[in-house]
């Protein structure tokens, strides 16, 4: 008879739980980072050198704010914190805060790196953060487009094409009929390509990834063709007015925060607004509840009378409209000109940001900002003549993304019905 009933407090544990293992690996990584910071940035920097981080722009109301810090001591302090944090992770049995520890660790490491690079020199930290926001815009909007689609179970790999085509529409229509029509046209173009994706995926059950790839090709081919055959001939169609920044009174004058957040084109405000709206919408409204149900369990949604197809069409088109907004930003707020293949792969980075952000609008924003920060920071380091070849600085954002995805995010759980066609008998 084997009715032996053990309690769960078993002593002879064979193995660590995955959480425990992860926690200790991250602990080790943090300690290694700390030691590296100590050696590379702490010991090898001239002890007298200060790093000056400017906290205001020339155009700000409150000028000449700066944070001056001794690079060596900052690095040593960071190293100490990193080692402490790592040791805490290694010894502590409670397993919470793992990701936060890692994020804090990477943040501190970046700080020490920047201090090392800026030792004896100065750079504008506010400018870096401002660039971070701007560099995040298209990535975040692309990711939002992606998650609008994937939350209802349609994989959208055609974000790149939607951005490109809507940038084209924005430029051409804006040149011909003015900014308002241009932006509207971009939104419509993004939406139309969304409709095409939805139509192929829902009506014809075309494999969703194929449909997305086709949209990328189609957008690239058509815009390049029209650019070569029409825009090069009729150059007045490639000269739209640029959309100016709107400086928000009072808020823009707040030190540090003002120039970073409140002196941008409406695309930036729109991005933040969309993130908030979508996040609240997805988790607090009828629209969000129904959308998520369609992405998680379309049949369950169907059985309570929700029209799965309609919701899929609607959200995919809306997602396209968001991409169109991003395309308009690229086309009208940057250089106000169409260039062939001007998106240059940023839609795919948006896709990555969506996965990285775990299909959450706020996550997408975070992912976009991490990527934007890496790009902005490498550009600052390039100015500081550290001797690192530019190619390595330029690849830094991509390397950082890989490390973050592998180290922090790990396995992600997409909506359960993502990529699955829903077929009624």
């Amino acid at each position: 008879m084997t009715t032996v009933l053990e309690s769960s407090q078993i002593v002879d544990k064979n193995r660590a739980t995955p959480e425990e293992r992860r926690s200790s690996i991250i602990g080790a990584v943090l300690i290694a980072l700390g030691l590296y910071v100590f050696w590379a940035f702490g010991l090898r920097v001239d002890g007298d050198l200060d790093a000056t981080f400017n906290l205001s722009l020339q155009t700000d109301r409150f000028k000449d704010l700066a944070w001056v810090v001794n690079a060596r001591w900052l690095s040593i302090a960071v190293a100490a914190i990193l080692v402490g944090l790592g040791t805490w992770r290694l010894t502590r049995s409670a397993l919470r805060w793992t990701n936060i520890s890692l994020a804090v660790g990477f943040g501190l490491f970046s700080l020490a790196f920047l201090a090392w690079a800026a030792a004896g020199s100065q750079f504008s930290m506010v400018g870096m953060f401002r660039s971070t926001v701007i560099l995040a815009v298209v990535v975040v909007l692309g990711a939002l487009c992606g998650l609008m689609c994937e939350r209802v179970g349609v994989i959208n790999i055609g974000i790149e094409g939607q951005l490109l085509a809507s940038a084209f529409a924005a430029v051409v229509l804006s040149s011909a009929f003015g900014t308002f029509v241009g932006v509207l046209g971009a939104l419509l173009t993004g939406g139309l390509l969304g409709l095409l994706l939805a139509w192929l995926a829902i009506r014809f059950h075309v494999d969703q990834i194929i449909a997305g790839v086709v949209i990328n090709f189609l957008a690239l081919g058509l815009t390049s063709l029209m650019s070569a055959r029409i825009l090069s001939d009729v150059q007045s169609l490639n000269a739209p007015a640029r959309i100016p920044a709107i400086r928000i009174p009072l808020l823009a004058d707040i030190p540090v925060v003002g120039p970073v957040l409140f002196d941008h084109t409406y695309f930036v405000y729109g991005m933040f607004l969309l993130v908030i709206l979508l996040h609240l919408g997805l988790f607090h409204t009828r629209w969000g509840l129904r959308s998520r149900s369609v992405g998680e369990h379309p049949k369950a949604a169907d059985t309570v009378g929700i029209n799965v197809y309609w919701i899929r069409y609607r959200n995919v088109v809306l997602g396209g409209v968001i991409a169109g907004f991003g395309g308009a930003f690229l086309g009208l707020a940057q250089v106000a000109r169409f260039e062939e293949n001007m998106t240059g792969g940023i839609g795919f980075i948006g896709l990555a940001a969506m996965i990285f952000g775990r299909w959450m609008p706020v996550g997408a924003l975070g992912a976009g900002l991490v990527f934007g920060f890496a790009r902005a920071a490498q550009q600052k380091v390039a100015i500081l003549n550290t001797g690192i070849p530019s190619e390595f600085l330029l690849m830094l954002p991509y390397v950082v993304t890989i490390i973050v995805v592998a180290g922090v995010v790990g396995r992600t759980r997409p909506p359960a019905a993502d990529g699955q066609p829903y077929i009624k008998q």
Binding site: I215, S224, I355, G419
Partner: protein, 413 residues
């Protein structure tokens, strides 16, 4: 709760991706699955052929619509304008065809262009078969090409050894780059779509940098360009140096047969396909799915790497600059999808794309129609082939009962 299809109603389960051979047919048992030709040849070719016709038709409309010169006289003399448009279409398509098949040179160009496409298409296809979406063919081509160039520059051997060694280097270079993404997925769960996209950029900058180092540069040059590769490492052209098609074509064909064999005749391929169809069932069957992910990404990367080698060792004038993969890495995705992730399918799709691209060059020269039209036509062909219902609707063919053509597995798990 997580059921996909109800079990107890046998009819409700959708047929799988590969066309189920009609029951009662008398083919040999395993043959249809392996060759991919389960239906009669005529039926199998009908939709692709009609898709090509449709794509040409839509392409013609696009040529006409974007004919700015014709539109300028449309107001005064619509007939002449229309005639001019139609003539433009005629010239464009004639040149497209002759540029692809019209001469020995044209055919050589078609085959030459198809070679790396086939290889990288296979790379993406084998990924799909194992449930992985390798967007990183471009980066893997970079690394494979770079490794091959290193061997070509720094090893002295007779051609019979030098070429295989350089190809081997490209296999290692591309394989490591792809395998890295697979390893990260297996170990940390980092999604391969993210990592391969990012690795593309990393590889591009790495090559740009490497080509400026003395390891690759010609002595005394400061250009980001490799020295001329040793003669012994160049892939010999098949029809003499006048034509670019080289033995790389045979490598590509060999790869097609090898991958065909690997996928359908080897235990490893069985495991790949199993992991691609159902990672869970594969785990239950005792397969080590994480290991398989790493392995399949290695092989996928290796194929792209060889594609990279053909664009370095096999591209006259045999000195390498920083953009040798061109757009092949992304075309590869379309190819794999068009070929339904089947090696023979990829072969045909590669030849088709090769012909379109080679013909497109001539078309650009003679008809002044931008090569971008070729991209549009490629995408149209993919749409029409991926949505046979659409083609059938246009040509009013009898619709046939088909399940969803789902070839990819979404984001996997």
């Amino acid at each position: 709760m997580t059921d996909a299809t109800s079990v107890d109603e046998a009819g409700a389960t959708p047929p799988p991706d590969e066309g189920t051979p009609p029951p009662g047919g008398d083919q040999p048992d395993w043959l249809p699955r392996i060759t991919g030709v389960g239906e009669s040849v005529g039926r199998a070719l009908l939709v692709p052929a009609l898709a090509l016709v449709l794509a040409l038709f839509v392409g013609a409309i696009i040529i006409m619509v974007t004919d700015v010169d014709a539109w300028r006289i449309m107001g005064e003399d619509p007939l002449t304008a229309l005639g001019q448009m139609l003539e433009g279409v005629g010239v464009a398509y004639r040149e497209l065809f002759f540029g692809a098949f019209g001469s020995v040179r044209a055919i050589s160009e078609t085959l030459f262009t198809a070679t790396p496409l086939i290889l990288s298409g296979l790379a993406v296809a084998i990924g799909f078969r194992a449930g992985l979406f390798n967007i990183g063919a471009r980066g893997q081509m970079f690394m494979g090409g770079l490794f091959a160039v290193w061997v070509a520059l720094h090893v002295e051997l007779p051609a019979v050894l030098h070429i295989p060694l350089a190809i081997l280097a490209s296999i290692i270079g591309g394989g490591l780059w792809g395998g890295l993404a697979g390893f990260l997925k297996a170990r940390t769960g980092a999604h391969e779509v993210i990592t391969t996209i990012m690795l593309n950029f990393v590889a591009a900058f790495l090559v740009l940098w490497a080509l400026k180092t003395s390891v690759f540069q010609e002595e005394g040059s400061n250009l980001p360009q490799s020295a001329r590769l040793a003669e012994s490492a160049r892939l010999p052209p098949i029809f003499g140096s006048e034509f670019r098609v080289s033995i790389a074509l045979f490598i590509a064909l060999g790869a097609v047969f090898f991958i065909q064999w690997l996928l359908f005749r080897s235990t490893l391929g069985f495991e790949f396909r199993a992991a691609g169809s159902s990672p869970r069932a594969s785990t239950y069957a005792g397969m080590k799915v994480p290991l398989l992910y790493t392995a399949v990404m290695f092989i996928s990367g290796a194929l792209s790497g060889v594609a990279g080698a053909t664009m370095t060792l096999g591209l006259p004038p045999y000195s390498v600059t920083s953009n040798f993969p061109g757009t092949i890495g992304f075309d590869a995705i379309a190819l794999a999808l068009l070929g339904r992730s089947h090696p023979y399918g990829v072969l045909w799709a590669g030849l088709l794309f090769g012909a379109l691209t080679a013909g497109g060059r001539t078309m650009q020269a003679a008809a002044g129609v931008s090569v971008d039209l070729v991209i549009v036509m490629q995408s149209l062909i993919i749409i029409f082939i991926a949505a046979p219902e659409l083609v059938r609707a246009v040509f009013r063919l009898k619709p046939i009962e088909e399940g969803p053509t789902q070839m990819t597995k979404g984001w996997g798990a």
